[in-house]
Assembly symmetry: C2
Homo-oligomer: 388 residues x 2
């Protein structure tokens, strides 16, 4: 029996780690790093492989056969042990640590999102995420008033016991971090943990590394590129109970963060502004679409108070459990054909695939996993996939 025909055991035990944190041993951490750095393995695939094979080590061993099952012809580029070891060393050398999903220092809210990074580099004061966090993001070309508002409300949110999360960009992000330096702020970087971006925020970057927390999902040494920013934004919203947007143009990155927040079940807050200022179009549009209008910190606290009153464990959305099933080889072959026919370059929700295939959800998820490892499909927000 080949590995692709092995019994599928997508179990619900993994999310329970959020509630009962455990720490990986060095060998496990290295395997996790190799698995998440392997070609075509994203966070969702990572958790599915872990659930199916019980450990990253076993998943790594199974990967080549699964990829072949999905139709891949050339060998899958598994991340070499040596490269992973070098990365771990470099992370330690810059004073950071690699923290795994489910470990005590991993931000609990972030652990609850479907595509939580399996590993993040963290540098700074880990206790920051023992408190609830709120994100404040906005325009890079922010107005003087917008920056002032961001700095002031960030300071006030800090005084009310919230950790301030942002993206260390120019404008609103920098002002918000600055306002919350004294009370606690975390910056999620788009590149590697060692990369300062933008250059003019070097001093702030260093202050946050000293007094707050830097977080990076990308490998150390990665220069931030345009495609990294949306992935980074899902961490900003995911690590927070809510996202406050201050000044944002239409189609700006801050609106991507707000959209992630909605998908992740977080509150979205927005500061209104004049229709004559293009920097307010995005925030006004958020309000028009249901975001909570914020003029003062009271508008935020009024909404957050009930959420903060519940213990963090209850606030976690457990990742959906999938029932065990054991498909036969002909069932798998037929499922591959059906799913393949339904896929196109337009993203389609996996739920919709399940509905249209009339196959068990766990089987469709397995096929999607195979196709992903084979490099045939790409994942999109909202549990969607498209043909590459």
């Amino acid at each position: 029996m080949g590995l692709v025909d092995a019994p599928i055991a997508l179990c619900a035990s993994w999310p329970a780690m959020t509630l009962n944190p455990r720490t990986l041993n060095p060998a496990e951490r290295l395997d996790w790093l190799r698995l998440i750095r392997t070609e075509n393995v994203g966070p969702i695939t990572f958790y599915q492989l872990l659930a199916r094979f019980g450990s990253a080590e076993a998943a790594l061993a199974a990967l080549p056969d699964i990829a072949r099952g999905g139709g891949r012809t050339k060998a899958l580029a598994i991340y070499p042990r040596g490269a992973a070891q070098r990365e771990m060393t470099q992370i330690q050398e810059v004073g950071a640590r690699l923290v795994a999903w489910g470990e005590p220092d991993y931000p609990p809210a972030l652990a609850a999102i479907d595509d939580a990074p399996p590993l993040i580099a963290m540098k700074g004061r880990p206790h920051l995420f023992e408190r609830s966090a709120i994100a404040v993001v906005g325009a890079r070309n922010a107005s003087a008033n917008g920056r002032r508002f961001a700095r002031d409300i960030a300071a006030q949110l800090g005084q009310h016991g919230l950790t301030l999360v942002s993206g260390l960009a120019r404008g609103i992000d920098a002002a918000a971090h600055d306002g919350a330096l004294a009370t606690g702020t975390a910056a999620v970087l788009a590149g590697g943990i060692d990369k300062v971006y933008p250059p003019e925020n070097r001093a702030l970057h260093e202050q946050i590394a000293e007094n707050g927390m830097l977080i990076a999902e990308m490998p150390i040494g990665t220069e931030p590129q345009a495609r990294h920013f949306p992935r980074r934004n899902r961490i900003i919203s995911g690590a927070s109970v809510g996202v406050l947007v201050i000044e944002a143009a239409i189609r700006s990155g801050s609106l991507i963060t707000a959209r992630f927040a909605l998908e992740q079940g977080r509150d979205v807050f927005a500061v209104p502004g004049s229709p004559l200022d293009p920097r307010c179009r995005g925030t006004n549009d958020l309000i028009r679409n249901g975001a909570i209008l914020v003029e003062t910190i009271d508008d935020v606290l009024r909404e957050l108070t009930p959420a903060l009153a519940r213990p963090p464990s209850e606030r976690m959305n457990d990742k959906p459990a999938t029932a065990k099933m054991v498909p036969t080889a002909p069932e798998l072959a037929r499922a591959r054909d059906l799913v393949s026919d339904l896929l196109s370059p337009d993203p389609v929700p996996i739920d919709e695939l399940v509905r249209q295939c009339r196959l068990p959800a766990a089987l469709v998820v397995t096929i999607v996993l195979e196709f992903e490892l084979a490099g045939r499909i790409q994942r999109h927000p909202g549990n969607q996939v498209s043909l590459l």
Copy 2:
């Protein structure tokens, strides 16, 4: 049988006049003017008297007895025929006309509100209200941007076939009128039809008299006073399908207009602004409470289009019909005691009085009418009354 014991015939025939306009003859118009100018007779009382007695003439004859029934000791000051005639003459002399509720030139939307003025002085081009109207109101101390926005959107609303209604105040009102001068604008005055207020808007006042429409409920010659403005504001919203508020401080007159609009079932639109500008607190608060956020005219048209597609007759809310009933004298006496006990200086909805008295609604309405004519109670928005 005294007049207070006369059969009550509050019938539903009156609102039908909205749909089948008729014109008063000169004697009827004079009686209407005398009745509405009589002490303690407000619009709601006016319509109830008209419904009960069939004509203003008959109501005027019955008034002294009704007031006595309500407990009034000194004679009710009925507006003298000579004074009414002088007022009519003066109105004609300034080039205005006195238009009655239900007449063809009376703004149809205004006719649909509970406390529509029975008579309004109108000066200008009456055809303006053959089109739907929208109100644009806002801060007197408006910002330059706010004024510009008001002027521009008023012009655009006019180009889309809407008549622009406002209050001819400084700031937003004046800018909105100005923007809509070419397409058609109506100014509702707080004082008499001949009173220019504020003085710096004299040129605009005259332009509107020439090309638009001036409307006044107060007697000619009345200097506008603080207490006139809320009454004026209910006409601004009542004559319109919706009210757009541009810049408004907390507890400002524009918010009173917005509240009337809600009570009258009109759409409320508001332009957002910076939390750092106190002139935007009121509009932001309206948005927080459900007003439609407006950045461009599209935000208004999107909401109004379905309403405007229906013929005006269907948009009218008929005044509620009240069933006929004939109370006996002991029933009336008992009802007076019950209602009297329930009244206090705090306003109470008449519905609530009906509920607590456990008496027929028409009987409670009659008692309230008696008390009002006796000068014992005062009416408030939302069909509420309080003891004076």
